[in-house]
């Protein structure tokens, strides 16, 4: 069975240049919109989960789901900080544990409005725990016991007074910004300072959570069970990675479902227009199809030829969509993570997942949109098709 030559398909697309271009760009716009939403979700997810560590534990009060809800008094926290056999130790034998005070405070944004910026009071061991993941890129670390803070680089330029040398007032105490730091994870949108000084300024005597780096091979399940049942300090223990992905569940789900609903609705519209274009193309080429049939091509090759044409349109649309969405890569935006009610800054990330999804989606649109017109073409009768108006 002879197939319709591929050149026929290419020539047909080229023959109707303006119509092909319009269809491709229209499909591209649809694909780009969806890819944009997906890129946002990817950027958000990378920020939170890619940086989560398996050997770092987050310990919260039992019943709390986020550090904002959690709380330990100082003496209870001491029990965890000093008495955790699984905790790793530094060269001097001190345990790699740190109590953290956390509060989302109001800060004015540079472009107007207000948002909640996480403030984290940390203990000296924090720097040893985070190691290379936390890099001070400007200025220096805050001094222990001083009214100094360092700010995450994501805040610079977006939140007022988050720059080297500026002063941030917490309740009635002014804190001086002595450094700007980068962190691979969400900590890059936070302000860090000395736990004791911040506790005093904000009148919050306790710690919100305790973090602990564990020795390799520690039995986490046993540790979790033990601390969960602890009479004195019942705790919820999670790895940092598990904690961070739990914090982003809601926003990630919203973005994914938004993407899914849009894909469904816009996809339907795109399939309708795709069908339309192909039907119109067919109407203009009925005569040609008649000729093809008359010179001996069977209906199946004609069906395949039209389907291929539509699939090619979809492919081009997919590529166009990817090209349209590429400039978004790295573009930063911010919103509130409604799991924690704090501001997070993150970037659009055009990952291979985004591109592959976009192209597959576009191909799907092309195939679905081309099926009906291809069927119509294949079922034409040569005599009908060749009849001149």
């Amino acid at each position: 069975m002879a197939l319709v030559p591929l050149t026929y398909t290419f020539r047909s697309l080229l023959e109707r240049r303006s119509s092909t271009a319009l269809t491709v760009v229209a499909m591209g716009a649809t694909v780009a919109t969806l890819a944009g939403v997906l890129a946002l979700q990817q950027g958000f997810q990378t920020l939170f989960t890619a940086s989560g560590r398996e050997d770092l534990l987050v310990i919260l009060r039992k019943g709390a789901n986020a550090e904002g809800e959690s709380g330990f008094s100082r003496d209870r926290a001491e029990v965890l900080l000093k008495g955790l056999p699984e905790a790793a130790a530094d060269a001097d034998g001190r345990p790699l544990t740190s109590g953290e005070m956390y509060l989302a405070v109001r800060r004015p944004k540079e472009d107007g409005g207000e948002t909640n910026v996480p403030i984290r009071g940390v203990q000296p061991q924090t720097f040893a725990i985070h190691g290379e993941r936390l890099r001070v890129v400007e200025g220096q670390r805050f001094g222990p016991g001083t009214d100094e803070v360092i700010v995450g680089r994501s805040l610079v330029g977006r939140i007022r007074d988050c720059r080297l040398g500026a002063v941030i007032q917490l309740n009635t105490t002014p804190f001086r910004v002595v450094g700007v730091f980068e962190h691979d994870g969400p900590y890059g949108s936070e302000v860090w300072g000395d736990a004791d000084r911040m506790s005093e300024a904000l009148q919050r005597p306790g710690f919100n959570r305790v973090i602990a780096q564990v020795v390799p091979g520690a039995d986490l399940a046993a540790l979790q069970a033990r601390l969960d049942a602890d009479k004195q300090v019942p705790c919820k223990v999670m790895t940092e990675r598990a904690y961070l992905s739990a914090q982003t569940g809601a926003l990630s789900a919203v973005l994914l479902s938004l993407g899914f609903v849009l894909a469904l609705i816009m996809g339907t519209a795109a399939v309708l227009t795709g069908t339309n274009t192909m039907l119109a193309a067919l109407a203009a080429r009925t005569h040609e199809v008649g000729v093809l049939l008359a010179i001996g091509f069977r209906p199946l090759p004609i069906f395949l030829s039209f389907l291929l044409e539509s699939t090619l349109l979809g492919l081009m649309g997919g590529v166009a969509g990817c090209l349209m969405v590429l400039p978004l890569d790295g573009l930063r935006t911010g919103t509130t993570n409604f799991n924690t009610f704090t501001e997070v800054a993150f970037a659009f990330r055009i990952t291979p997942t985004v591109l592959v999804t976009a192209v597959v989606f576009a191909l799907g649109l092309g195939i679905v949109g081309g099926t009906v017109p291809a069927l119509v073409a294949a079922r034409l009768r040569p005599t009908q098709a060749l009849r001149r108006e």
């Binding site: 269809t23 989302a104 109001r106 309740n171 609705i265 309708l272 227009t273 039907l279 109407a283």
Partner: protein, 388 residues
Amino acid sequence: MPWHLIARNLLAHPVRTLLTASSLVIAVFLICTLRSLVVGLTAGVEGAASNRLVVQSAVSLFVDLPLAYQGKVAQVPGVRQTCKFQWFGGYYQDPSNFFAQFGVDADRFYESYPEVEVLEGDPAAFLATRAGCLIGRDLTRRYGWKVGDRVPIKPTIFQRADGGAWEFEVVGIYRSRTSNVDDATLFFQHDYLREALEQGAASGPPGVGVYMVTLAPGADLVAVSREIDVLFENGPQRVQTTTEAEFQRQFVSMLGGVPTLLGSIGGGVLFAILLAVLNTMLMAGRERTRDLGIIKALGFGDGVAFALLMLESLLLCGVGGAIGVGLSLLSAPAFRQGLSQMVPGYAVTDETAALGLGLSLLLGVIAGAAPAWRAGRLRVIQALRPEA
């Protein structure tokens, strides 16, 4: 002017016309829905009362104010009434069943919030019942609660000593006449919470999140705010007094890029559909070359040829747009119900409907312009020449 030709032309390819109109319907529906989402997210700002101020911690949304502040605020000249508002943050059965609960002063609540209207139950029962609560009518729809029910709410902030849920008795169902208060909130007596905390039956922060201040008639908003702020300037907790609208705007501002994101999606949809309709109209124009030649040969002017295509485009887009707007209006109650948890203010406003219709007509003009212009300039000789 051969009016019937416009309809005939549209019906000449019923399948294609239907497809174009349908994609338009979908696009307009999507745009109206996205806009309604943005409207819903920002609804609180619109309905805010101009005679109410909000006193909250200047430091953080999560820091409470001491109970003693209420008396001091009430002394400020120009303040008519104060009412506690304490965020409870609980949930019903499962954390996904989330809605707002506030502990308020039962004896001052109605005076502070005249827009709240009790539909069922006795308004006075709210004050008389210690564990009583008022629930919004959306909550009765969502969970099937009615007056007299005891509702268990699990705490996240205020843990009970017995480890269990709090129980509130529904004494009334309310609706709000303005959009600043949504119909999906549970209001309970703050005294009930305070007593439990004082007696050790529960643990949690003892203070109050915000005080709502109602101004006396003629009081100066700015002066009163400043006076309240100055009262606590040196601690222990600095306060920030804002208008209710400003308070709501803080939450909208927290959304950050979300409204822009939804707007861009709408823009993408619009662009894609514009190209699709343009494509359809260009093809229609090309196919109609011969017909137009005949029309002109019969003596109709260039204007008629232009108008034929332009009106066809306008009719196609107008009908598609109208159906799209109609669908979004029809689906609004369902969306409102489904989204009442996340976007309680979802509403397809008149402006949204007008925008949807206006945009589709604009699409019609743009899509019709090129083929109509070409039709107007068409020469009879060219148009009637048989295809090579």
